[in-house]
């Protein structure tokens, strides 16, 4: 599987979309190195749930639109940076087959103060969930596959901003 990586010239924004797993500690240290003027780092990780409304799940398959995904995540990161004066942003999103409890996504941001860091990270997640071109397919224990429907609650979370 191809790996798509893009770094801003300043490395303030780092975005990766790839099948490979990530390590929170490594990403945190990278953020810290890129954040000499910051007093706060917030990192969020999203995991694969082992259930849906219909029962237990074996895992998910994540599809994306490679040419658009990085562009879209970059635009979201830039918006958050401008809005909360973030110093650095890291977004890692995995694609392909993932098992229950696997890590799916990491969003990490640094800012001068904690409110900006919390809000910036939340803004990026809320926008990522409603705008970045990823699609989840759930795989049941029995092996059946079903596309996941978009949730109104995700749209409402985004509309708060």
């Amino acid at each position: 599987m191809p790996t798509e990586t893009e770094k801003a010239p300043s490395s303030a924004i780092q975005i990766r979309v790839e099948p490979r797993d990530f390590e929170l500690g490594v990403e945190y240290e990278s953020l810290r190195r890129r954040s000499s003027a910051s007093g706060a780092i917030v990192a969020f990780t999203g995991l694969v749930r082992d259930f849906n409304a219909a029962g237990s799940l074996a895992g998910i398959i994540l599809e994306h639109y490679p040419a658009m995904t990085i562009k879209s995540l970059y635009a979201i990161a830039e918006q958050a940076m401008a809005k909360w004066q973030l110093e650095a942003v890291t977004i890692v999103h995995r694609v392909g087959r993932l098992e229950s409890h696997d890590q799916i996504v990491l969003v990490g941001v640094s800012a001068r103060h904690r409110d900006a860091a919390f809000d910036g990270a939340r803004f990026i997640m809320d926008y990522l969930k409603t705008e970045a071109p990823f699609w989840k397919k759930e795989v049941s224990e029995a092996g059946g596959e079903e596309w996941v429907d978009a949730k109104d609650s995700d749209q409402r979370a985004r509309d708060r901003w």
Binding site: G46, L62, E63, H64, Y65, A67, M68, K71, S72, H93, I104, V105, M125, L128, K129, T130, E131, A132, P133, F134, W135, K136, K137, W147, V148, D149, A150
Partner: protein, 83 residues
């Protein structure tokens, strides 16, 4: 020639991931192009009539009135569900 891409459930419905479409002279926007693709068969007609359908032109979100030109990449997909 226009490169048309389908993703996720929409791709499953139309039965292909990619399509090359010759843009007729009269057609210059998304609504027009969507009409041309729908005419290719019942599966296209049904999938592209989905009220929640999203469309991107050259990897940017677009609407029915967005201009389409020869060489553009158009993508049709359902609401996104990442994260």
């Amino acid at each position: 020639m226009i490169k048309v891409l389908f993703f996720a459930r929409i791709r499953d419905q139309v039965g292909c991931a990619e399509l090359d479409v010759e843009l007729p002279d009269m057609v210059d926007n998304i609504d027009g192009l969507t009409g041309v693709i729908k005419a290719q068969g019942a599966a296209f007609e049904e999938a592209l009539s989905d009220p929640n359908l999203l469309i991107a032109v050259n990897q940017e979100m677009a609407g029915g009135q967005t201009t389409v030109e020869d060489g553009d990449e158009i993508a049709y997909f359902p609401p996104v569900t990442g994260g």
